[in-house]
Symmetry: C2
Subunit: 401 residues, 2 copies
């Protein structure tokens, strides 16, 4: 199976249907899970779950049930065979109904396993899989400036649902939570209303709530060598975790922006913090959005691209060549008690190894990045994302077999 | 000027541009404010503000500045003339930039005045307009089952921003809040990800998070006689508040749904609570979605449409003929501490008089509606929505002149 063969693979649309973006359906099975290199959809509903049972059999049964429901929903079908309105009026429906009549809308559902699924707080093996815990799958360290809400961090399992229609993404998470009743409970969930990343060269670069283009230098679906080097876990990466080869690590960081303070900063300062122009997104050293930054170019007062600018701090040239596949979303969760918008970037990144591709960069960013003055990280989580599954397999089969 | 002439009036699209829904722009000025009978857009950002100044002049200056910015943004322009990237690099931009490159996206911005704008908690005149306070503009009474969060209720001013792109709606509220810094502060705000109402016969009926079609029997733009009777404040309605003629009252109710409990109810019970089928939305007495319910039809065990069903409890036939123009949105604000989705319906209704068209119906609903077992009202507010403004006028001009 060729690398990426399924990553952007589209299911066949019904004959005669107009082939618009809203009707896109992405294959659920494949070498890698969908929702990573899939062209980033517009909307997100992300949920972290805690497992509430001690039974391995119950947990595996849930993963099987989730597999069936997720595959159905990504095809635009109801979560269950009976559907929201069929069957016995004396029974609850096996789909909740709010997506009746809506197409697949590009829905992808991506599953991940958190460190606490393998071992509890006392280091005890919870489900007989502790010896398969990847070495890099540990609770992320505390970073300077972290103000984490434990109720919005961590989790035994995660599900990322992305779609071009938010009702479809919400419907997916809700039905998986419904199916999991008694086995798992939602620990936290997050809606994202607008994508901030491009994961394909076919997409234009969107803007985050700082008003800047975001994700310009992302690893993209069309770069298989970079994906293999920076995103997919390699076959020999971790002898304990062969089941993770072809998968990835998923980092989430809920980055609240101090929007109101940011909005009072002069345009020149904003551009200095980012290292790019607000208009076209070109590096301050010139060119267009896609021009490589020239960090050596001098201005009247030090480098044109400041040393503490975001683009320089996180650039691969200063981080051992490490790149990430970012897939974050803008969020607004109402207002905080002081009247500021409770808003920012729900950062999502997929990396081959968090110890080399995320932790050092985040640590550096937390210490020296000028942007950090306008960010407060309120949620944080790390999950191991298994590879895709083949016909007849279920999510997590390689881990639990 | 004919009633409704501007209600669905569209600004001319740029020549040669494809005339897709995403590029629609609605006129900001007109007989009525846009965002009421305008075909309900897909996404919402609603904000309530408290006035933090004691100065009438400052408040009026803000309403003038808001008028300019709102009209610009509904045309797809930046909030200010300089724009997000023009002007002096030493000054903060007069637009925050996240909507650069996005079209008007059907944006409407609708302003309202709360009871506390007229009088403070001690009954004192705050801005010299107490004698113009409409008699019906009072804090809504406590209804049985209300579990209001004061921090998510009430407000001196409100702004409803609706658009087909959530980034455009968020951009509008954020820039109005930015412009209001020092004069007003956001008290609460609410994102809605999916419309639950049709306000035009050109729209199909969407579904709420109970999975049912919602808003079937809404007052619609194409019903001018019903709008005049049920939605627009008449010229002689309130001698103290002539400035409100041609306006309306806006009620918001943040109705949390106990999603997880609802999902465990048998289909037949769910349909009995609503009084309609989940599939087509037809009344349980038969026909299609648009068939009038037959409340007299008998089943084996009482009426086919139960007496405590939602459709019967709120039907005009049992409420003195009163109808509302509903314009609510589905919301999901993450999860609650118990692992349930913090989700439901952000109910918005426009009515001619809350004392006849909302309070009695809500009171009855709170007491007898079977649905109430699955609803918890956590936010509540009432605003007077002035009529539209003509050329050269500003929002609130008739009230403050």
């Amino acid at each position: 199976m060729a690398v990426g063969a399924f990553a952007a693979g589209r299911a066949t649309a019904a004959e005669g249907e107009p082939s618009t973006a809203a009707r896109d359906a992405f294959a659920f099975r494949g070498e890698h899970q969908a929702g990573i290199t899939t062209p980033a959809q517009d909307r997100l509903h992300f949920a972290a779950f805690d497992v509430t049972t001690g039974s391995r059999a119950q947990l595996v049964a849930l993963l099987k049930a989730w597999t069936v429901a997720a595959e159905r929903m990504t095809r635009g079908l109801p979560a269950g065979e009976v559907g929201p309105t069929g069957g016995d009026a004396l029974l609850p429906p096996d789909d909740t109904g709010e997506a009746i009549g809506l197409p697949a809308s590009g829905l992808t559902i991506t599953f991940g396993f958190g460190p606490t699924l393998f071992r509890d707080d006392h280091g005890r093996d919870r489900f007989g899989i502790a010896d398969r815990q990847p070495a890099a799958l540990r609770t992320l360290p505390h970073f300077p400036g972290d103000a984490l809400d434990p109720a919005a961090s961590y989790g035994d399992l995660c599900v990322q649902a992305c779609a071009d229609d938010p009702q479809v993404a919400v419907h997916a998470i809700r039905n998986l939570a419904r199916i999991g009743f008694g086995t798992v409970a939602v620990r936290w969930s997050q809606l994202g209303f607008g994508r901030t990343s491009t994961t394909s060269t076919s997409q234009s670069t969107p803007r985050n709530l700082f008003g800047f283009k975001d994700g310009t230098a992302n690893v993209k679906a069309e770069e298989p060598a970079d994906l293999a080097e920076h995103v997919w876990v390699g076959r020999g990466d971790d002898p304990r975790a062969g089941w993770l080869a072809g998968g990835s690590y998923l980092v989430t960081r809920r980055m609240n922006m101090t929007i109101e303070v940011w909005d009072r900063q002069p345009l020149g300062d904003q551009e200095g913090f980012i290292g790019r122009t607000k208009d076209t997104g070109a590096p301050l050293s010139g060119g267009t959005e896609l021009t490589e930054p020239d960090f050596s170019m001098s201005g009247s007062d030090g480098p044109v691209i400041p040393r503490d600018s975001h683009v320089r701090v996180v650039h691969p040239d200063f981080n051992g060549g490490a790149r990430m596949l970012r897939r974050g979303y803008n969020f607004v969760d109402g207002s905080d008690p002081l009247g500021g918008l409770n808003a920012g970037l729900f950062f999502i990144a997929f990396v081959r190894d968090p110890d080399t591709h995320f932790v050092p960069i985040q640590l550096k960013m937390a210490k020296v990045d000028a942007l950090m003055e306008y960010l407060k990280v309120t949620g944080s989580a790390l999950f191991a994302v298994p590879p895709g599954i083949g016909p007849g397999e279920h999510v997590g089969q390689a881990l639990f077999s």
